[in-house]
């Protein structure tokens, strides 16, 4: 059996390193090795988006990324959205628009929304739905989520 590998990366702006086996996924490393349980495992096969994180600015399903692939990378998880002093506009708008119920999909949606708005600060509804197609929600349905994203985009544009 292979021994553990040391991986270092920057997670939510903090330099972080950990040991893990080569076969571990980034999701497992985040949740089980680093205690960052914000990212969730909904399917384990890249379907549901509950594990979504940003890897060097790119939206990925961490259940499909090997932890060792994160070497030297900048990772943003839901724990890195918002600050110590308060919620980000995305988080605030999700709350105000009731875009969550059980909340299990929510971290993935928040990260995916951040990726969208970082790239496209003024998306149409269709663009939002297309971008968030990799995030599944069973409780709320998507209307409120789309509305929350629109509001967050407007807020971030200063409107």
């Amino acid at each position: 059996m292979t021994g553990k590998v040391a991986v270092s990366a920057t997670i939510n702006t903090e330099p972080t390193d950990w040991l893990c086996e080569p076969r571990e996924t980034l999701l497992e490393a985040l949740r089980d090795r680093l205690g960052l349980t914000g990212s969730k495992e909904g399917c384990g096969n890249g379907n549901c988006g509950a594990c979504a994180v940003l890897l060097d600015g790119r939206l990925v399903n961490s259940c499909c990324v090997l932890a060792v692939e994160a070497q030297g990378a900048e990772i943003t998880t839901v724990e890195g959205v918002g600050t110590r002093d308060g919620l980000s506009p995305i988080q605030q708008c999700f709350l105000e628009e009731a875009a969550l119920q059980c909340g299990f999909c929510t971290p993935g949606f928040i990260v995916a929304t951040k990726a969208l708005l970082d790239k496209n600060p003024n998306p149409t509804d269709d663009e939002i739905r297309w971008w968030l197609a990799g995030n599944l929600c069973r409780c709320t349905g998507y209307d409120k989520i789309v509305r929350a994203v629109q509001n967050a985009a407007a807020k971030q544009r200063g409107e």
């Binding site: 076969r23 949740r31 205690g35 960052l36 349980t37 914000g38 990212s39 969730k40 495992e41 998880t77 839901v78 724990e79 959205v81 918002g82 919620l87 988080q91 999700f94 709350l95 105000e96 009731a98 969550l100 909340g103 299990f104 929510t106 971290p107 928040i110």
Partner: protein, 91 residues
């Protein structure tokens, strides 16, 4: 000229009280809980959709890796974290 009834909650749009924890990833779900020396369970499902269980043979599970599990009589084998990682990798 009906009298106006004022409700305290109905008709308002409260922000749900567990909302902040959920949008920040702080909310703790069952799978997020880690306790010292906690046991891990692994479910083995029957490959047969409709059948009667005549016997459960837990001997292989009990022999897994370094810390053998123990059958507690209900068909559950308590395993250490290390055994669980191995079992998980094996599936």
């Amino acid at each position: 000229m009906a009298s106006e009834t004022k409700y305290r909650v109905i008709g308002t749009r409260p922000v749900r009280p567990d909302g902040v924890d959920k949008v920040t990833g702080r909310a703790i779900y069952g799978a997020d809980v880690v306790l010292p020396r906690m046991a891990h369970g692994k479910i083995l499902r029957s490959p047969h959709a409709h059948a009667r269980i005549l016997r459960l043979d837990t001997s292989r599970a009990e022999q897994t890796a370094r810390s053998p599990g123990r059958d507690d009589g209900a068909g559950f084998c308590r395993m250490s974290m290390r055994s669980w990682r191995l079992a998980r990798a094996a599936t």
